[in-house]
Symmetry: D3
Subunit: 133 residues, 6 copies
């Protein structure tokens, strides 16, 4: 099994409506370190899991739509529910949609698995993993 | 599949009785960086893997019982056997026992898997992974 | 010359009024990794630069007043001017005031210098350094 | 499930023949941070996954054969194909061959899995995972 | 005293002519993590040490001229003398020339000091520091 | 001004006699990450601050005398006073003595400054800096 990973980051504001989150109900923010990994059992014709340039561009494009924004106003997190887990899931699915549009040459050979990990502080991180179809 | 991780650390003394360990038979010590991860296939009602505050509290409580001690005197490691692997296993099981006592609201949805990784130096680390029942 | 350092972090929202900041004029946020260093030419009676427990407590108390807040509403940054540099200066001065209140036993021997560094992302950080009186 | 990991690094030159790689067709180089992990469901008689000293020695010996060289001249990467993925696969297989020669006392209990991860820059890494027979 | 830092990286090949360097006389390569710091005693009108966007662009432009190249062919390092120290000096001076061309609004207030640090492996790094005129 | 740095680590046990240290009066231990830096205003004939191979060997030799030991039994720390600051001072002075014995070719050009930093945990570190004569 092979894997390929790239990293990037975003800086966003958000808050939580649910009293479960205590002080994080207040408007605050985070720098999320973002680590995207794709796993495949074999390599493609170029001896890589996928085109790393395309992988970085997709990640930047998906992150760029959220960077320097307030997630409380984003339709993907209704009712102020942008937990690190939900954000990882949203970003992973958004990246997966873009990877599915890549030319065969740049895409990972099937069956591939994608995981997206978010580091929210030096002491906390979360991830979401899904198959790529 | 979702994951949530938190980190902490402890500073302990220990030694090994087994000649297999060479110079580490002498009394020495370590700062263990500790990384606790819980994985679940779905999120609970609060859109999280589990209550991260409870997770950090449990980890600190379990670590607090060992912090600033000599593991050679701890009953979990009879015969001076506190290898990084055995320490990871002991800490993972201790954390799992505490997670099992959490209210439904704060606990991870079943089936969950717990892993505990110990970084003993910049060039060596070990982990133990187990299902949460 | 000796130095002693401790680290912590905060998660805040903010924005900038000045058009100079481009997309960072929008409400966003950051996890700031915080590194506090005190330098002294000699050690005190306990063979340390200062009481590391007091140092961590002061840093946490100073950070705690900002953690999970929106810096745009904080009086220290009028006109939405909470650049990383200004935030480092504000935190350094706040820590210095608290250090000045410590008993002789816990405080750094004079002349001491304090610096406070903020890591705002994997690729950007800033600091402020000042003498402790 | 237990795991044990060690790390090391190498500094090599290489280039790619395939136009797919754009500017990386030019002769350049990399410092690869190398992370070797072995996983086993149980521990051996010394309460470890395997002899960590032997593990570090094998990794250094395998890396030493490539360190400070030009991978374009290495027979394992014909046609200048030393992608991070192929290099990880080559190193993993080379390590596996050496682990298979270890005395029972130092080797991991079966069934074991080996993975080798290469960090090529702060924003990109790749790995290869295989069973140890 | 304030400081502002940004980071980036390059991947290059090189070798040393001087027998002093042992195995590093062979053609090899490195990923250099690059950390650029500017220090000023006061902040400019925008409450920053300098325009961080301009700082990152200058660093990338200066690094871009070396990225994916063989330093043995670069005129700045005649006789294959691209030690980490000389490379840091060359990059610092190149960045300083570009900073000197910035509009007053984006440049650091005088007197400013620039330092450039290169991380060549997990266990070795070097830097060069100079005044900005 | 140039600098060159190398890193290594040690694993030791120790305790403190002084009640000032609270729970650290108990026998415990630490992994110290060790960072050694030498600064010189100019480079020597080989375009380096000093011979990095000699620098790493000296650091390892000095650390090797303490590695896997109990600092409470070491004559450099009478009365159980091995604070991170005192350990940094002891190691810096030991390294400086060894650097003074190097052939002119391998040594740093005068005037040189040496600093030694010890990372005792992810949240605490200390250093000692001294001139090299």
């Amino acid at each position: 099994m092979f894997s390929l990973s790239v990293s990037d980051h975003i800086m966003v504001a958000h808050s939580f409506a649910d009293p479960f989150f205590g002080p994080a109900q207040r408007l605050h923010g985070a720098t999320y370190g973002v680590e995207l990994t794709v796993r495949t059992p074999a390599l493609g014709p170029h001896h890589v899991v996928m085109d790393i340039g395309a992988m970085r561009d997709i990640l930047r494009r998906v992150l760029g739509a959220l960077d320097y924004t307030n997630l409380d106003e984003h339709p993907a997190f209704p009712g102020r529910t942008s937990t690190t887990e939900r954000l990882a899931e949203y970003l992973a699915r958004s990246v997966a949609q873009e990877v599915a549009k890549l030319p065969h040459d740049a895409a990972p050979p099937a069956p591939a698995v994608l995981s997206l990990l978010l580091r929210e502080s030096p002491v906390a991180w979360a991830s979401y993993e899904m198959p790529l179809s």
